[in-house]
């Protein structure tokens, strides 16, 4: 496999490979970032599905005999100011936190595909208008707007929040997809499809979109990260129904009942880390996707030593080296790194 690194930040389009989706998947799982990210993600999905069953106590049950107890055999993560079991709250809180992130991610990604691909595919004022729309939504700061919206309707269900978060979160994906679509629309296979009279929807669905899967995936993951982060923040502020359990409301209660001041770290740290680790998993997944989109970034799998050796010998300058396998003398730095990777394996 020779990686063609000539076009920056555009996806390689290999005409000889019929199923970009399958190739995408097999390449993806080779990346350490992706493996780590997906592992974390799978653990969280498991907790979200079975958390309610695994929880040892009712998360709202107040046991006044066990107030602010540090972790013990009965309460693995201790208890709150009201004698509630922290572990149970954490387990029960997993599902709503993930649900809202994913619902918002799905809706936002759908919006960003329609608007982004549309803006890239249709030149002229329609495309410009869609592009302007996404740029406007990119600039408007989300949290102040969310605060205004949530204070006007404090009883809104989490589905309403998911939709609002999606509505505020699609713009970044749309902008990236627009750039990709503009690049793809000039490729020969798209021009050929146009010349043979294929309708626009068919070109978009079967020629352009399959080649944008990695970009759609990154923007989906980023939207989920943003939505979970914003929702947890809103819950922490006490703006969302604070009597339901999720990691944001846990942090709200811990903060408002002075968990840290009373040294109850077991109450405050777990929900924060729970949020941090799901977001970490998603961010790592995206690092992997970025490396897929831009092969130059693919340093994963290269041992540090091989990398260092390669860069010490030749810097980043291509140097003529005697190698029987390579027909041409000059080797590009990107190829050199990939070769180093293969040799290291």
């Amino acid at each position: 496999m020779t990686v063609n690194v000539a076009t920056a930040a555009t996806i390689e389009i290999a005409a000889s490979e019929p199923a970009p989706g399958r190739r995408f998947w097999s390449l993806l799982t080779r990346s350490k970032w992706v493996t780590a990210g997906l592992t974390i993600f799978a653990i969280y999905v498991f907790l979200a599905i079975f958390g309610r069953m695994l929880a040892p106590y009712d998360p709202s049950y107040q046991n006044y005999g066990e107030i602010l107890k540090p972790p013990s055999a009965q309460h693995l993560l201790g208890t709150t100011q009201l004698g509630q079991d922290v572990l149970s709250q954490l387990l029960v809180g997993a599902a709503p936190t993930l649900e809202i992130g994913f619902l918002a991610g799905v809706v936002a990604t759908a919006l960003s595909i329609v608007i982004g691909v549309g803006a890239g595919f249709y030149a002229g004022s329609a495309g410009e208008g869609l592009s302007l729309l996404s740029n406007i939504f990119l600039v408007i700061p989300q949290i102040p707007l969310l605060v205004v919206i949530s204070s006007l309707d404090p009883k809104a269900s989490i589905w309403v929040y998911a939709l609002v978060l999606a509505f505020l979160g699609w713009a970044w994906g749309a902008r990236v997809l627009r750039a990709q679509t503009i690049a793809l629309a000039q490729q020969d296979f798209v021009l050929a499809a146009r010349a043979s009279g294929e309708p626009a929807w068919r070109i978009i669905l079967f020629e352009i979109l399959p080649n944008e899967i990695p970009v759609v995936a990154t923007s989906f993951v980023y939207t989920v990260v943003g939505a979970i982060g914003s929702y947890v923040a809103l819950c922490f502020l006490g703006l969302v129904n604070i009597n339901t359990w999720n990691w944001g409301t846990m942090l709200y209660w811990a903060q408002s009942q002075q968990a840290l001041q009373s040294n109850a770290w077991w109450w405050f740290i777990p929900p924060g880390l729970a949020v941090a680790f799901i977001l970490l998993g998603l961010v790592m997944l995206n690092f992997g996707l970025d490396e897929f989109i831009n092969p130059r970034l693919r340093a994963a799998g290269i041992s540090r030593k091989a990398m260092k050796a390669a860069s010490r010998q030749q810097g980043i300058t291509p140097v003529v080296r005697k190698r029987p396998a390579e027909p041409s003398g000059a080797v590009r730095a990107g190829d050199e790194i990939n070769n180093a990777a293969r040799r290291a394996k």
Partner: protein
């Protein structure tokens, strides 16, 4: 300057969109802010017909058509009126925001500049020296990026403020000091800003870092970098004047996105540190159902973000000759 002209046009359209969103939100949501505000104002003092009229202009008047409401909303804005603050009755929302805004701009401005400079430098260097210990910074930065701002803020307060007692943990300056621009007051304020600024820098740095690293890796493969090295130009010069100089341009272009996120996060940081900025005012307003202040703040924050983006555009024009030549 057609590039700048286009950007200014974009900011005008965005400002119009923000005002329009602000106009429609209270009219589309189920709550009735006018009644709540009138009831709450009544607790503070007599409610004059003028005040009711102003509130209806802001939040919706069932008797007037939407279009005429929209125009009177704009005319009220052009007269500089954002309504009366409930939280600091009878001050106007404008003056409440005016007092808080310098704190926020100072804190976020300093943090964003520090995070940008540090993040760009580390990112550029880790791309330049791939395989060095800086590659380990990537997983670390992923973790920092994943930490919620407010959570890190609370941990920072507990560790550096309460346990170690190194820095003050709340407020913008020591109680009893008069907020005047003397060296001792500025020093005191700077000391109070260290922990919140540290929190914002730590959580926002990784975006700049990863961005610059990825751009830099792409740039390093360009022919002009190769030629520069072949010419025997010193490594440092190749890195900064050839690679970084070019790789940094898209960083300015993505400033808009980053700034929106930082501002949103900073609002939470201000709350956690009881910082006297606009975020704290916003959250007090939420507690008091003070819709005038909330909407005023959303508007002002959006305008401030637009202004900051415009500054980033100006820097971009200075750095990128292509933007200048389009004139």
């Amino acid at each position: 300057m057609s590039y700048l002209a286009r950007r200014i046009g974009f900011y005008i359209v965005t400002a119009w969109a923000a005002v329009t969103i602000n106009f429609f939100i209270p009219r589309l949501m189920p709550g009735s802010p006018v009644e709540i505000m009138i009831a709450r104002l009544g607790q503070n003092g007599p409610v004059t017909p003028g005040m009711i009229h102003a509130l209806e202009t802001q939040f919706g008047n069932p008797k007037a058509s939407l279009l005429s409401q929209y125009f009177s909303y704009w005319s009220q804005l052009f007269h500089g009126s954002l309504g009366i603050s409930l939280t600091d009755y009878p001050e106007s929302v404008g003056s409440v925001i005016g007092q808080a805004l310098p704190w926020t701009i100072g804190l976020i401005g300093a943090s964003v500049i520090i995070a940008f400079v540090l993040g760009t430098a580390i990112g550029a260097y880790s791309a330049w020296r791939r395989g060095s210990f800086l590659d380990g910074a990537l997983p670390l930065s992923a973790f920092l990026q994943a930490l919620p701002y407010f959570f890190l803020g609370l941990v920072v307060i507990e560790v550096f403020g309460e346990r170690l007692g190194w820095f003050p943990t709340s407020g913008g300056y020591s109680q009893g000091l008069a907020p005047v621009l003397t060296p001792s007051f500025i020093g005191n304020a700077a000391q109070h800003a260290i922990l919140p600024a540290f929190t914002i820098v730590v959580t926002s740095i990784s975006g700049w870092m990863v961005g610059q690293r990825n751009l830099m890796i792409t740039t390093l493969d360009q022919d002009y970098v190769l030629v520069a090295q072949a010419k025997g130009i010193s490594q440092r010069r190749v890195m900064w004047m050839y690679a970084v100089r070019n790789a940094i341009l898209p960083q300015f272009a993505s400033f808009a996105v980053a700034l929106g996120l930082v501002v949103s996060g900073s609002i939470l940081v201000e709350l956690v540190f009881s910082y006297p900025g606009i975020g704290s005012v916003l959250l007090n307003a939420v507690g008091n159902e003070d819709y005038s202040t909330m909407q005023g703040i959303f508007l002002i924050i959006t305008l401030a973000v637009l202004a900051a983006n415009f500054i980033a555009d100006l820097v971009y024009v200075v750095l990128d000759p292509r933007a200048r030549q389009e004139a």
